[in-house]
């Protein structure tokens, strides 16, 4: 058994887990954060993507013990109260989902992608960056649209923030 302690969505959490416990199982079963999904269990589908220390990672492919000491953000930690995160809002607006199973991972990947491309995104980049996220319903079209829209909204918001600060 390992004693793990992490900050998850801004909250300090700890627990004793079997060493083989995957981060995704710790999130879902110990913390009840079931927004993070297990799709393929073979590290390919990306339904389990969360941010560990600010970077997108597959929570089905790391042990909770490996993540101990880290800061984790899950889909439940994105919205600000009742206000959806811009990426969530864009997925809603552009209907970037059908069954919704892959959506948490898509949104966590998209948020990370937008963070790494503050200069903006184009369709080819979005599609290449979605390599590790599989959707079996919508064929990606609306997902790509939603990410491009969110990227625009967020770069505008950060520019006006920078203006205000200046």
């Amino acid at each position: 058994m390992s004693e793990v302690s992490l900050v998850v969505n801004g909250r300090k959490v700890s627990g004793a887990v079997e060493d083989r416990t995957l981060l995704v199982h710790f999130l879902r079963e110990h913390l009840g954060l079931t927004g993070t999904h297990v799709g393929c269990d073979t590290s390919q589908c990306g339904a389990c993507v969360v941010h560990v220390d600010g970077k997108a990672m597959k929570s089905c492919t790391m042990l909770a013990a490996q993540a101990s000491g880290s800061t984790v953000t899950t889909i439940e930690g994105l919205a600000n109260g009742a206000d959806l995160h811009p990426v969530q809002a864009a997925f809603k607006e552009h209907h970037g989902l059908q069954c919704g199973f892959c959506t948490p991972g898509m949104i966590m990947t998209a948020t990370d992608m937008i963070r790494r491309h503050p200069e903006g995104l184009d369709e080819a980049t979005v599609r290449a960056e979605l390599e590790g996220n599989i959707c079996r319903c919508t064929g990606y079209h609306n997902i790509v649209k939603a990410i491009l829209a969110a990227s625009k909204t967020m770069s505008k918001a950060s520019k006006s923030k920078a203006k205000k600060a200046a």
Partner: protein, 265 residues
């Protein structure tokens, strides 16, 4: 996954001490080992996590000499500005390993020590004439990669860094499997002071290897046109449900052409 005991190493010395427990394995990014444990293809009794050893991380470039710490992630290799200036081909290679989430965790040391026959890095290190630095010794890439998932590493030995002198020209091209995205054939070519080297991954029955035919052609002229009509023997090339040895032999030449074009671009 079978039950396992997790240990976090604080230094290389500490890791070597901890690896003596049971049937322990070193864990770096875990992008291969954790999935292998989940399917029970691997079942170590203990894991020694190398990911928190600060000495193993980071990229140093001094003149043409590049040293990459073993626990440096693919993401950091892909985006290192100093490396981009002296050996952009390696950055490009790293930027196409797995997917973004995998690149955030997977490490060069882990990839090299695992020596997957379809991994990208082994071909780069072999073509760059790199040296693999361990906690015990320094090994030339030519002596390090031994076969499928086999290296010259001893049980408790840890890859701590890889180092090479950046060549004047380098390029990489791979034909990714449409489903797994692993290289069905990947070729890394370099042209440096010591001549031309071309290493092939994803195709060899015995893992990464240098192609004499490609090297001979490119030594005459380091251009794609030099590879027109060149054929690579299909003997000792991999056969699986995705491609025959003959198909891979052809891919070696095609990927070599693209790699040279990338190197000259």
């Amino acid at each position: 996954m079978y039950s396992v005991n997790y240990h976090r190493a604080t230094s290389v010395v500490d890791a070597v001490k901890k690896i003596k427990t049971g049937d322990a394995k070193y864990l770096s990014g875990g992008m291969t080992l954790i999935p292998a444990m989940k399917t029970r293809l691997a079942a170590p009794s203990d894991l020694v996590d190398l990911n928190h050893i600060a000495d193993l991380k980071g990229i140093k470039v001094s003149g043409k000499t590049v040293t990459i710490g073993a626990a440096t992630t693919h993401f950091d290799v892909a985006n290192d500005e100093k490396l981009m200036k002296v050996c952009p081909a390696l950055c490009a290679l790293a930027s196409h390993i797995g997917d973004p989430a995998v690149r955030h965790r997977g490490t060069i040391g882990g990839s090299v020590a695992n020596n997957d026959p379809a991994a990208d890095y082994p071909s780069a290190l072999l073509a760059l004439g790199a040296t693999i630095v361990t906690n015990k010794r320094q090994l030339a890439a030519d002596k390090f990669f031994k076969g499928l998932f086999e290296t010259a590493l001893k049980d408790d030995e840890i890859v701590t860094a890889v180092t090479f002198s950046a060549p004047a020209k380098a390029g990489y091209a791979k034909f990714p499997n449409p489903a797994s995205r692993y290289a069905m054939t990947g070729v890394f070519v370099t042209k440096g002071k010591e001549g031309v080297r071309a290493a092939v991954t994803g195709a060899g029955d015995d893992g990464v290897f240098r192609s004499k035919e490609v090297e001979a052609a490119l030594t005459k002229k380091f251009e794609a046109s030099a590879l027109e009509g060149v054929s690579v023997p299909s003997k000792n090339l991999m056969a699986d449900l995705h491609a025959s040895p003959e198909y891979r032999a052809n891919l070696v030449v095609v990927m070599a052409k693209r790699a040279v074009m990338a190197a000259n671009a």
